[in-house]
């Protein structure tokens, strides 16, 4: 039996051509919308650069990058941004010191060490850290942490030292005593030797801890709004990015590698340190870059709690002094420069934004390259 189709199955030539045309047009519209959202970044570059170039025409390149005299409202004005660049770098370095060890260790723990049920608890913690708005971090840094640092700076430093160094020293003692006895008394029955060595080493370690702790307790913090405060907070802010991206990289390392290493008799730590982490190194590298990008680009925390003094700390690694960063300068000075659109003072902020944008662009490029290379290697 034949049923009559309401429409012929095969389209006429004209209809099929029309259909192809419509599909092509739809494709074009989609491409247009997609490219307009992607080209936003080119627009950003163009519009920031357009307002940045007049500054360099007015003042040249040399002063901006080499002088530390930042007096934009003085007459004659000076626009040396070196100290501000150093401030941004210093704060980012401090954030890296906090975030990289914690973040990478945390990622290793999440991907390989912790049991699954525990992981389900820790992951939301990290997601919450990532979700907290930057102004809330800034508020904490300014209203809670800075006064604490100012009134009891020494004590805070000492407690921090004990919290960090205490467990680490205990671990080191544990390992060291074991290593030493392994040389001296190999074979069975060496556990008593281990205990003896550990007991012998303990006073030395304690002495070192107490000595450094006492020195830190004497430290006077002139102002709670300083680079240390900001570094710690920025480190915590960069942590979620570093942890989650490194964890992805560690997960991407195949089971075969891990199982091969275990089959050779390696312990879990050996598998992780010798095999998995080197295999994921490029991904971890990208994670660190992405995390630090967040620290460089962060505005509110540094604006509120870094002290905003355009100076290079003396000596340069002294984190207890106030600093000023690029982002905070843009945010803080725009209000005053706003009504003098067209002056060097207005354009210098765009020059800083251009510098930030360039840094972000390079970091992004590098991290993307690194990730792509690792993907190619591991398939």
């Amino acid at each position: 039996m034949r049923t009559a189709h309401p429409r012929p199955l095969r389209l006429s030539r004209r209809a099929s051509r029309l259909r192809a045309l419509v599909a092509l047009a739809g494709h074009g519209v989609l491409l247009l919308i997609t490219s307009s959202s992607a080209l936003a970044v080119l627009f950003i570059f163009f519009y920031i650069a357009r307002d940045a170039v007049p500054f360099f025409q007015l003042r040249g390149l040399r002063e901006f990058f080499t002088s530390t005299h930042w007096y934009p409202s003085r007459d004659p004005a000076e626009f040396g941004a070196l100290a501000i660049f150093v401030g941004s770098g210093l704060v980012t370095l401090g954030a890296a010191l906090v975030a990289v060890p914690l973040g990478v260790l945390g990622a290793v723990c999440l991907s390989d060490v912790l049991p699954f049920s525990f992981r389900q608890i820790v992951k939301p913690v990290i997601e919450v850290l990532a979700a907290i708005p930057s102004v809330a971090y800034g508020f904490f840094a300014l209203v809670v942490f800075a006064p604490l640092l100012q009134s009891r700076g020494g004590t805070v430093l000492m407690i921090g030292w004990w919290c960090l160094a205490g467990p680490l020293a205990a671990l080191a003692l544990f390992v060291l005593s074991d290593l030493l006895t392994a040389r001296v008394a190999p074979g069975r029955g060496s556990s008593w030797a281990r205990v003896v060595v550990a007991v012998l080493l303990t006073p030395g370690a304690l002495l070192l801890l107490v000595w450094v702790g006492q020195h830190l307790a004497q430290v006077q913090v002139p102002s709670g709004a300083n680079a240390l405060n900001v570094s710690i907070i920025l480190g915590i802010m960069a942590l979620p990015t570093i942890t989650s991206v490194s964890e992805d990289a560690l997960q991407a390392v195949g089971r075969e590698l891990r199982e091969g290493a275990y089959a050779l008799g390696a312990t879990r730590a050996e598998v992780l340190v010798r095999v998995v982490i080197p295999a994921a190194a490029s991904g971890i590298c990208a994670a660190v870059i992405l995390g630090l990008m967040r620290a460089i680009g962060e505005t509110m925390v540094v604006w509120m709690a870094s002290g905003n003094a355009a100076q290079i700390p003396q000596p340069w690694y002294n984190l207890l002094q106030p600093v000023r960063t690029l982002t905070a300068t843009i945010a803080g000075d725009m209000g005053e420069a706003d009504h003098v659109t067209g002056s060097a003072r207005y354009h210098v902020l765009f020059a800083m934004a251009l510098a930030l944008l360039t840094i972000a662009f390079i970091c992004n490029l590098v991290s993307e390259r690194v990730i792509r290379r690792s993907v190619r290697r591991h398939g």
């Binding site: 997609t34 508020f139 843009i330």
Partner: protein, 449 residues
């Protein structure tokens, strides 16, 4: 290496890892605890009679007769203080000149402090600022002020005047020994509850009241509303564009140089610092396109939309890729065109995942400050009506948190408002993220089934 040593190293490595996780969790607790604990005091606190008087006058809340009765009782309890001050002032001309001057100075200082505690004294001209028209509205602040009345604070800079200053407190009563004012210092601490009549107050309208006199009194409704406008505006612009882009990238784009350029543009956009978005919004939307004559909610929303666009694209891409190929193939096999298959089959299947991403980006847009500084935010203003958002700037939670805790004239007096704002913003953002988390768990369960 001995096996034992290797085991020890293994265990210490595990210990190190767990230690770092513990530190991260501790950081979260340390961060959230003060914000939640003190933020709650914006909503639940012990309000004094001054608070109820203020609420009656400015927000029309509370029972008129009850408030009046309470004010009368409080005034009666305050009368001895006012009497003591008056009688001392009467006797003042009788003292020798030098002592009179010293007394006059001390008395003026005391009166200033009493005004901040109890409100205007009898015979004062009506104050110009609303904040001066009332005493302390909160019991915790009142106790702090009482301490300032009882003790004079001076600073000790060490014998050579070079050290970091330490506060030194001396009893103020010493300045008035043997005068009519002396009993006040006995009376105040013992009768403070009668003077101010504290009551546990639950001020849920903190969220929905407008501020009075630069946030001294009242709530944060204009800020909350501004944040909602900005967030919804950003979502309105970013989501359609983001979803269409994601559909193109997943379903249509091949592997050519143009597509890879687009992809790296999008990932660069994700890495642009937020303050640069702010400057761009100013230079492009306001100065170049003249979307609005000056800052407005519209330009702020557009800027925020750009900021969250990469997040929306990425989340939608992931959700679309997670839809099994078989869905689309089934649709194509029954004769649907490609577009038809995407719109009716693939997109609905991916929708929960897309919405999760959208909700997370909403949280991000709500909390961002830097992009709206130059494009949308003002420190003070009324709650806007919806059509005013096209041209008017608005107060917004993130910006006003910054503004209140750095640029406000009396930062310490309004800590509770600052904490309340931070808590509100945090609650908003974390609620959005929590919803996304739950939704994601559900989707994962459904897909695995």
């Amino acid at each position: 290496m001995r096996l034992g040593t290797r085991k020890v190293l293994d265990r210490s490595f595990t210990g190190l890892g767990s230690f770092s996780i513990v530190l991260v969790a501790a950081a979260l607790v340390v961060l959230l605890a003060p914000i939640i604990a003190r933020g709650a005091t914006a909503f639940v606190f012990r309000g004094t009679v001054e608070y109820r008087r203020m609420m009656r006058a400015h927000f029309d809340s509370g029972d008129q007769a009850a408030v009046e009765a309470e004010v009368a009782a409080a005034t009666a309890a305050r009368q001895p203080i006012y009497d003591a001050l008056a009688s001392f002032e009467q006797k003042l001309p009788g003292y020798p000149a030098a002592q009179r001057r010293a007394y006059r100075e001390s008395l003026d200082d005391l009166k200033t402090n009493l005004r901040t505690l109890l409100g205007p004294l009898p015979g004062d001209p009506p104050p110009a600022l609303v904040r001066d028209a009332y005493g302390q509205t909160r019991w915790d602040r009142a106790q702090l002020k009482l301490r300032q009345i009882l003790y004079v604070q001076t600073w000790d800079y060490g014998p050579d005047g070079q050290q970091q200053g330490r506060p030194v407190f001396t009893p103020r009563v010493n300045e008035f020994k043997g005068t009519a004012v002396e009993p006040i210092f006995e009376y105040l601490p013992t009768h403070l509850a009668d003077l101010l009549r504290p009551q546990l107050t639950f001020y849920w309208r903190f969220l929905f009241d407008t501020a009075v006199d630069a946030h001294f009194f009242g709530g944060i409704w204009p800020e909350v509303l501004g944040t909602l406008y900005l967030t919804l505006g950003a979502i309105f612009f970013a989501v359609p564009m983001g979803i269409v882009s994601a559909i193109y990238l997943v379903e249509y784009a091949g592997e050519n140089w143009l597509v890879s350029l687009l992809r790296s543009c999008i990932s660069t956009l994700a890495g642009v610092p937020s303050i640069v978005f702010g400057l761009f919004g100013l230079a492009f939307f306001i100065n170049a396109l003249h979307v609005s004559p000056a800052k407005s909610v519209l330009t702020g929303s557009l800027t925020l939309a750009l900021l969250i666009l990469p997040m929306v694209i990425r989340a939608s891409e992931e959700a679309l890729r997670a839809v099994p190929r078989t869905f689309k193939e089934a649709a194509l096999s029954v004769g649907a065109s490609k577009w038809h298959a995407i719109v009716t089959v693939v997109f609905p299947a991916a929708l929960p995942g897309i919405l999760t991403g959208v909700v997370i980006s909403m949280g991000r847009a709500a909390g961002e400050t830097a992009p709206i500084i130059f494009t949308a935010a003002v420190s003070a203003g009324p709650a806007l009506r919806i059509w005013e958002t096209l041209t008017q700037p608005t107060p917004a939670l993130p910006w006003n948190i910054y503004n209140l805790c750095t640029e406000h004239a009396a930062v310490d007096e309004i800590r509770h408002v600052q904490y309340g704002m931070v808590l509100t913003l945090l609650a908003l953002v974390l609620a959005l993220n929590g919803a996304a988390l739950v939704a994601r768990a559900r989707i994962a369960r459904r897909l695995s089934r």
